[in-house]
């Protein structure tokens, strides 16, 4: 490839990067021209012509086709015939780094719903109940207050892996991680002055079902975020625009979307969302609440194909509701030997951590797995270990009590195929 052509291509790229600035006029005629017959084309690829829309709000390459899918497979579709959205899973098999793009972030609604189309100028958050001063905040008020920006994952209780699923989007796609910006709930509560008798708070959304959950005040004072920003822009409607609660490490439903009201109360309120957590067994109830340490290999993962033996960097995600991830281990021999994986970046509390492990595949059939440990020493278990804890016989379709944070195996075939190791 001649250096002349290379520099010309760079000029074109540069012109585009200048967002339709001075060079565009000079370049545009060249773009529109078809080379005369017999002449070599001026560049190797078709060019993307700038448009007002693409300049105003960019979009990904047409070659990148990763999309969300309804969850679970064979379950309720999203959208349904009426345009309601239920559960939608993120394509983790294509993810790099730790941030889930807002367009691909998983979505869950309480019972299937339309997205409320809220005018942020009309939206308010009211905090009342057992406080010295009930207060109503406009979106403008909230943006005046000291903000924090944090990476946090959210995971749906339905994020369970089973033998019927084929890829990591189906097994683990009901979890995502974004950079959230907003005001700490503790900042707002201090403005209101929480009374000593307040032990729980109820957070409520403005959507049609007005979803409400009860949470401990201790959590509110620790790290709960009232978020208006997501990945550098306002929270998307599917994720709660203009305001949502972000409850780090708790099961996803607690991170109340379209947040309009917080009431400080003196007991567990048992509204409808809480009824969903009602359990006979106190241990299971606890394990349904805060998310345990969990990790999964996203490459190579189910449905992908290894082109041949040789080097691969195994890559995956780890997270925990208990804090930051301390270690991740990877096994490439079905769990006999565990090797320390490397972190890509510094693990953050209740956030996805990307890990990698260099591996030379010898072309034989094997199983690859990952497991993690969090900063408070909780370890991600295999299903066999969980069954042993509960003192029940382990069988192939064993269901982990509470939120499922068990190890996910991927089986590599001789042909380089990658399949669900639970199948």
């Amino acid at each position: 490839m001649g250096s002349k052509r290379t520099s010309r291509r760079e000029l074109l790229k540069g012109g585009a990067a200048l967002a339709g600035g001075f060079t565009l006029g000079a370049v545009a005629p060249a773009l529109g021209q078809t080379p005369a017959s017999g002449q070599a084309p001026a560049h190797d690829h078709p060019m993307i012509k700038g448009s007002k829309e693409l300049i105003a709000y960019g979009e990904r390459s047409r070659f990148v086709t990763s999309v969300r899918i309804a969850h679970p497979i064979g379950g309720r579709p999203s959208p349904d015939a009426f345009g309601k959205v239920f559960h939608v899973a993120a394509p983790l098999q294509d993810s790099v780094g730790v941030i889930t793009p807002s367009s691909l972030h998983y979505v869950a609604t309480t019972r299937g719903s339309f997205m409320p189309d809220i005018d942020p100028k009309q939206h308010t958050l009211m905090i009342h109940g057992l406080v010295d001063r009930p207060l109503t905040f406009t979106m403008e008020d909230l943006k005046r207050l000291p903000s924090v920006t944090r990476l946090h994952f959210i995971e749906c209780a339905g994020n369970r892996h089973n033998a019927r699923q084929t890829n990591v989007q189906e097994t683990h796609g009901m979890a995502s991680c974004a950079e959230w910006t907003g005001v700490l709930l503790s900042t707002l509560l201090k403005e209101c002055g929480v009374k000593g008798s307040a032990t729980w708070f109820v957070a409520e959304g403005a959507e049609e079902v007005k979803g409400a959950s009860s949470m401990p005040v201790a959590k509110a004072m620790d790290d709960v975020l009232v978020a208006y920003g997501m990945n550098g822009e306002p929270v998307r409607p599917q994720n709660g625009f203009p305001l949502r609660l972000l409850v780090p490490g708790f099961e996803g439903i607690f991170s109340t979307k379209y947040l309009r009201r917080i009431k400080l109360v003196d007991r567990y309120y048992l509204n409808y969302n809480d009824f969903g957590h009602l359990d006979e067994d106190a241990k299971v109830a606890a394990l349904d609440y805060q998310i345990g340490p969990k990790s999964v290999i996203t490459y190579p993962s189910g449905g992908q194909q290894l082109p041949g033996r040789g080097f691969y960097e195994i890559s995956g995600l780890a997270w925990s509701g208990g804090g930051a991830i301390r270690t991740v281990e990877v096994s490439t021999d079905g769990g006999k030997k565990w090797n320390r994986a490397e972190f890509k970046g510094t693990p953050q509390r209740m956030a996805f951590t990307r890990f990698g492990y260099g591996w030379n595949w010898d072309g034989n059939e094997t199983e690859i797995l990952s497991r993690c440990t969090d900063e408070i020493g909780q370890v991600q278990p295999t299903r066999e270990q969980v069954a042993k804890y509960w003192n029940v016989p382990f069988e192939r379709n064993y269901r982990v009590p509470g939120l499922d944070n068990s190890v996910m195996p991927w089986r590599i075939g001789r042909d380089g195929s990658v399949k669900n190791g639970l199948a």
Partner: protein, 186 residues
């Protein structure tokens, strides 16, 4: 001695003054009416319940009028939406019976709260207080929780004895940086 005697009082005053002063002075005080209009989370004591009353008979009428049967079936069974009437009898232990809100909820207030905030589908928030009391009574009667002639209102609804009684797990006292379940290594 004098100082020692007033010291706890001074400390208390100090603490309450500290707790009471806002740092930023942002936000406005909602009016009592604004609070009342939004205060729809009904807790177990029922203190947020509005005035009103209803019986199962009236509820059966409302159930028909509002088209509840389209989703929940003519008598709370057989529709595409969750069933509202238990098929099993009260001789079956509650945790072996269906997961039905007006049967398994520990408080009747939870049933009232959900009908009020979430029903009917597409017309949420349009039921009157009387209609919600009546529907709650109908669903509880349907599951043999209350007799047909019971009148539900602000006073009687929170006192309804639900079949689950005390047989449900309480959540552990949550603390930051603590295992999700004591002695559970995972």
């Amino acid at each position: 001695m004098g100082l020692l005697r007033v010291l706890p009082f001074l400390l208390l005053m100090g603490a309450s003054v500290l707790a009471q002063s806002p740092t930023y002075g942002v936000g406005r005080t909602p009016t009592a009416d604004e609070i009342r209009a939004l205060d729809i989370s009904i807790g177990p004591t029922g203190e947020e319940l509005p005035q009103g009353r209803g019986t199962a008979k009236e509820g059966a009428e409302v159930y028909k009028q509002k088209g509840c049967a389209v989703c929940h079936g003519a008598a709370g069974i057989g529709g595409p939406a969750p069933a509202l009437k238990s098929k099993a009898g009260s001789e079956v232990p509650i945790w072996e019976r269906e997961r039905i809100l007006p049967l398994r909820a520990p408080f009747a207030t939870t049933v009232w709260d959900y009908i009020n905030r979430g029903m009917p589908l597409g017309k949420e928030g349009t039921l009157t207080a009387n209609e919600v009391y009546a529907l709650t009574a109908y669903l509880l009667f349907m599951n043999q929780v209350i007799p047909e002639d019971a009148v539900l209102d602000q006073q009687s609804l929170p006192k309804v004895k639900m079949p689950i009684g005390d047989e449900y797990a309480r959540l552990p006292d949550w603390k930051p940086r603590t295992r999700r379940l004591k002695d559970y290594p995972y």
